[in-house]
Symmetry: C2
Subunit: 200 residues, 2 copies
DNA sequence: ATCAATAAGATACCGTAGTATCTTATTTAA
DNA sequence: TTAAATAAGATACTACGGTATCTTATTGAT
C-alpha cells in the first residue's frame, strides 16, 4: 500500500524495452531529437533513466534503436535491379530510395546526425542512421553485373568510388532536403556512370 | 582586505574580452574543444561565466571567436595553378588546401563542427558548400584552362559536377577528420578527372 | 515452496551548458 | 564632486546527460 497502486506488474526484458522504444519514437516525432530528453522518455514509458542506460549507452543510440524499430522499414533485401545496363540498374536502385528517404522526416533527425558526428569513431561515421552499410553490397552487385556485360572492371573500383553513391545521397538529402528522380538521374548520368565506367 | 588582493582593477570591455578569448584559445589548444568548459575558461581568465555569456551566446561561438582572433589566417586568394594538365592543376589546388587545413589544428577543434552543425541548420551548411564556396571559381578557372588545351568541354559540366569537389572535401573532413595528400590524390584520380573528362 | 540470481524501481548524485539575481566597482555626464 | 548608468563579480539556480547505489519485485532453478 505504501508503494504505487499499479505496482503489481513490473515489466522486464523485451516488454520494457519495447515500451521505452515506443516512448522514444513518439517523442522524437513530436518534439524532435534535440528536445527529447532521457528523463522524458523514461517518464513517458513509465520507467526510469537507469532502465534506459542499462540498455543503450547514450541518447543517440536509444533514438537510433527507436528509429530502426519504428522508422520506415529500410528493406534489407530490396531486390537488386538487373536490367541490362549499369545506368538503369543504378537508377532502379536509387528509385527505391526516393520513397524511403522521403518517408522519414529528415528534419527530425538532424540533431541525431550532429550527435553522431561528435563521436570520434572515425571511419564510416558520416552515415545517416544505418543507411549506407546496407547500400554498398547492392552497389557492388550492380557493378559485378556490369562487369559480366563488359561495361567495366570491378577491380578498378576503390573504396572511394564504391562509397561515392552514399556520399552523393547524403549531400543530396542534407543539402537539398529532398531526393527526387531528377536529382538521382543527374547523379547517375553526370557522376556515377562516368566514374564507374570511365576508369582508364 | 576582505576581498581579493588584486581587487583594485576591474577589467571591462575589450581588455576583459581579450583575456577571455586568450584563455579560451589556450584551453582549446591544450585540452581540445570537447573538454574545454565555460567555467574553465572563466577561471583561467579570472572572470566568471556570466561575463562569457554576456558576450557569446554559447560555447561554440566563444571558441569560434577565439579561433578567428588567434587561429591561423586563412588565405582567401590562393593562386590558381596552371601547370598544363587538368590533373596536375587539381592536385595543385587541393595541395594548397592540405596545407591550410593542417595549419588549423583541426584535431583540437573536434566537436566544434558538430556543435555548429547542430545550431546552423544542416541544409544551410551544405548550401554554403553547394554554391557559395570560395573554391568554385577556382575550379571553373582550372576547367577553362583544360578546355583551352582540349581536355574537356566546359559546357558539358553541370552545377552538380562543379560542386563535386566541395562535396568530396566536406565528406573527407567530416567523415575522416583529416585532409591528406593521399586522399586528395585519390579524389582527383578516381573521381574528379573521370567526371570532368569523361562526359560523353 | 524456498531461495539465489537477475533486473526493475527509486533516488541521489556529478559535470557541464546556460540563466537569473543581486551586489559592487568603474565610467560618464551633470 | 557627485550621481546615474553601465557592466563586472559572486553566487545560486535550472536543465540535461549520464552514473551510482540501494531496495524490491520477478524469475527460475532446486
Amino acid at each position: 500500500m505504501a508503494t504505487t497502486d499499479k505496482g503489481q506488474t513490473r515489466r522486464r526484458g523485451q516488454a520494457l524495452e519495447d515500451a521505452v522504444l515506443k516512448a522514444a519514437w513518439d517523442l522524437v516525432n513530436t518534439v524532435g531529437y534535440e528536445k527529447l530528453t532521457m528523463a522524458g522518455v523514461a517518464a513517458k514509458a513509465q520507467a526510469t533513466k537507469p532502465v534506459l542506460y542499462r540498455r543503450w549507452p547514450d541518447k543517440a543510440s536509444l533514438v537510433t534503436s527507436a528509429f530502426l524499430k519504428f522508422g520506415p522499414k529500410i528493406k534489407r533485401d530490396l531486390p537488386v535491379p538487373d536490367t541490362g545496363s549499369l545506368r538503369a540498374d543504378l537508377l532502379g536502385l536509387f528509385g527505391q530510395l526516393v520513397v524511403t528517404f522521403n518517408a522519414l522526416g529528415a528534419e527530425k533527425l538532424q540533431g541525431l546526425v550532429a550527435d553522431r558526428l561528435k563521436q570520434i569513431p572515425v571511419d564510416k561515421l558520416f552515415a545517416l542512421a544505418n543507411g549506407h552499410s546496407m547500400l554498398e553490397p547492392k552497389i557492388t552487385q550492380i557493378l559485378q553485373q556490369a562487369e559480366q556485360r563488359g561495361e567495366l572492371t570491378v577491380a578498378d573500383q576503390t573504396a572511394r568510388t564504391l562509397n561515392l553513391p552514399v556520399v552523393l545521397l547524403i549531400n543530396e538529402v542534407l543539402g537539398h532536403g529532398t531526393l527526387t528522380t531528377a536529382s538521382l538521374t543527374a547523379m547517375v548520368d553526370e557522376i556515377l556512370v562516368p566514374v564507374f565506367m570511365g576508369q582508364k
